[in-house]
């Protein structure tokens, strides 16, 4: 995994501090051209991984990349599935079972029959496989070396005790997409226990890691200890705590924890992207120098 991954929150009007800012961002990025411009700026800065939700609009970004293979050679997506609001709204409208039926691909008779059978046998594995395949369809022909399960789903399933779901997810993305499974969570220490019990070894786990302790269930100290001592590949998100922390201070905290492999960040301007890259490079160098 690269050191820096570009996240997609700003593109879809997600901001954990200000709804006005979120609205302004949603306006700015209502055209996919604006999204692609930012991806291009990031690419010019050497950031060639886009960690994005499987929002339907990403499909157009994928089309653009497929249409320009030379420009995007070596570019990779880390899909994060599913785009939860889609499911949330479907469940409200159609009920639990109705939503599930709607989300299963019905274009192919085969999978509809398979899906019907799977529902009848109460076996979640084929249902999960079909849901994953439906979310992955937009990335066909593009590199997706890591596929993440979104935090709302991870933490929901973990809470319910669906341990098998993590093993099934991991197996399917490995076998079908040759990808490494990733898991996003707000409950890092607990998830590592759960994944261990599910038999998912050395998992890639993306969690909020910031100096404020914002959305780090179990607390900052436990997170620091967990990162330093447990067997997993940490990806830090929400490092700026949605802008509540100044950039240098925020990144110093994350860069000082040497086991953190990657940092995912959202940015929408060249200046911000460059500043983040330069700061991380500088702070990483400082850490290495101290270590040496």
């Amino acid at each position: 995994m690269d050191r820096l991954l570009l996240g997609d929150n700003p593109f879809f009007g997600v901001n954990h501090m200000s709804e006005e800012k979120a609205r302004a961002q949603a306006l700015r990025f209502q055209s996919n051209r604006a999204v692609i411009e930012v991806l291009d700026v990031a690419l010019d800065e050497g950031i060639r991984t886009f960690m994005c939700t499987t929002h339907e609009r990403i499909a157009e970004v994928c089309d653009h990349m497929r249409a320009n293979p030379a420009r995007y050679a070596g570019y990779r997506f880390y899909p994060c599935m599913p785009y939860a609001h889609k499911y949330n709204n479907a469940v409200t409208e159609l009920g639990m079972l109705g939503a599930l039926k709607k989300m299963l691909p019905d274009g192919l008779l085969g999978s509809a029959v398979q899906g019907g059978l799977a529902l009848a046998t109460k076996d979640i594995e084929p249902v999960m496989r079909m849901l994953i395949d439906a979310e992955m369809a937009m990335f066909r022909g593009l590199a997706t070396p890591v596929v993440f399960l979104q935090n709302v789903v991870v933490d929901f399933l973990m809470g319910l005790g669906f341990r098998d779901a993590f093993r099934l997810f991991a197996r399917h993305v490995q076998e079908r997409y040759g990808a490494e499974p990733g898991f996003i969570t707000m409950n890092l220490p607990r998830l590592l226990d759960t994944l261990e019990q599910a038999g998912v070894d050395n998992p890639i786990v993306c969690a909020n890691i910031n100096q404020l302790g914002f959305r780090m269930c179990g607390g900052r100290e436990l997170y620091e200890r967990t990162i330093a001592t447990r067997r997993f590949r940490p990806v830090a998100m929400s490092v700026f705590a949605s802008g509540a922390l100044p950039a240098r201070e925020a990144l110093r905290y994350v860069c000082a924890q040497k086991r953190i492999e990657s940092i995912v960040f959202g940015a929408s301007s060249r200046a911000n992207i460059r500043q983040t890259r330069l700061l991380v490079e500088e702070l990483d160098r400082d850490r290495e120098a101290v270590a040496a």
Partner: protein
């Protein structure tokens, strides 16, 4: 250990189950749903004891407390059965669809000394808790008018096949969505003594309403406006916003921030990142975890603070009923005389109006 049963495994029931099942002081002794599929999958993969009937759960699993998240119309019946057995009750919003039933349950819970709570989670959002603190501290002086708005993308097409699209089941924006805003408004500004100018429209739905607007009148002269629309596709999810104008300043709050303007001093802002206390287990917003943990604390006797008890939910139901009644009255200040039906938005509107005014030079109001 608190033994808990979860009744209703729809979106909210599963969400509550996910949070409560991770609680170190809770044992989930049974889950209940009318849909066999969800129940069977839960039993198969999580080992929870499944019940197809809530009475069987109450009598078979003998929980200390239940979380009820069934379609709104059945809240009253199930809550009553639980309370009669001395079981503590957390029930999803809206509380009841009839005031009579709500009154009975408030009395029954009191008689049984049972912990009772309704799932109005906005009272657990830190920025709104901060807004309440600011209002109570008198930072913006005496409030004379306020506005509570909630917009979201729930119903964007004329379809839907669940209980949510049926009025008799508690569907519709007023009971299913505006109830959150009313509950928050009551908590911040008190229960209004009257309602005027209520408008309840359907935008896409056929059997139920999609938007609600009204003026709230308080006995002390304070007024407020309520603007609720769940057919607003410009929102990513439900967005609740509160504004209050006081004798010394102004307050704006939404789930992310609480902005306070004090005359002569200017703005100060506090953000959710700084206001929100950490939760034990996070699934989809701190407020959902906080409300469940509060309920468990109450049942375990660790907290005596009433938040969202049945009595306060009854006050919310009361305002919802006032809104419904007022909306049925239509306009109350009208032009005297037989005004023609004006075809709204049509090209002939100006013409029609001009003709009408020409024929009735002395406009009077009543």
């Amino acid at each position: 250990m608190v033994k808990i049963g979860v009744i209703g495994l729809g979106k909210m029931g599963l969400s509550h189950l996910s949070i409560v099942k991770t609680h170190p002081d809770v044992k989930v002794v049974g889950v209940c749903d009318a849909t066999g599929y969800v129940l069977d999958v839960m039993a198969k993969y999580t080992g929870l004891a499944p019940f197809g009937d809530y009475r069987a759960l109450l009598d078979g699993a003998k929980p200390d407390a239940v979380l009820i998240a069934t379609p709104s119309r059945s809240h009253g019946e199930i809550a009553r059965a639980a309370l009669e057995r001395g079981v503590h009750v957390f029930v999803e919003k809206p509380f009841c669809l009839s005031l009579e039933e709500a009154h009975e349950l408030v009395a029954l819970a009191r008689r049984k000394q049972a912990v009772n709570q309704v799932g109005y989670h906005y009272r657990f959002i830190a920025a709104f808790q901060e807004a309440r603190r600011v209002l109570r501290a008198g930072t913006i002086g005496e409030v004379h008018n306020y506005r509570v708005e909630a917009y979201g993308p729930v119903v964007l097409r004329p379809r839907g096949s669940t209980w949510r699209s049926q009025k008799s089941e508690g569907g519709g924006c007023l009971y299913d969505y505006a109830s959150h805003a009313v509950n928050l408004s009551n908590w911040l500004f008190g229960v209004p003594a009257g309602i005027g100018g209520a408008v309840v429209h359907s935008v896409f739905s056929s059997g139920v309403d999609d938007e609600v607007y009204a003026t709230l009148y308080h006995a002390n002269g304070v007024s407020g406006q309520l603007c609720i629309n769940w057919s607003d596709e410009t929102q990513r999810k439900m967005s609740m916003r509160v504004e209050a104008w006081g004798s010394k300043g102004k307050l704006n709050a939404d789930r992310q921030e609480c902005q306070v303007h004090v005359r002569g001093e200017g703005w100060s802002v506090r953000y959710t990142t700084d206001l929100t206390p950490p939760v034990r287990y996070y699934v989809r917003g701190e407020e959902f975890s906080a409300q469940i943990d509060h309920f468990v604390d109450r049942v375990a006797g660790r907290s005596s603070e009433e938040v969202n008890d049945f009595a306060s939910a009854l006050e919310t139901d009361l305002v919802l009923e006032m809104l419904e009644r007022d909306a049925a009255l239509g306009a109350r200040t009208t032009v005297v005389g037989a005004a023609p039906e004006l075809p709204a938005g049509k090209a002939s509107l100006r013409e029609t109006l001009a003709r009408w005014i020409a024929g009735k030079p002395a406009l009077r109001l009543r």
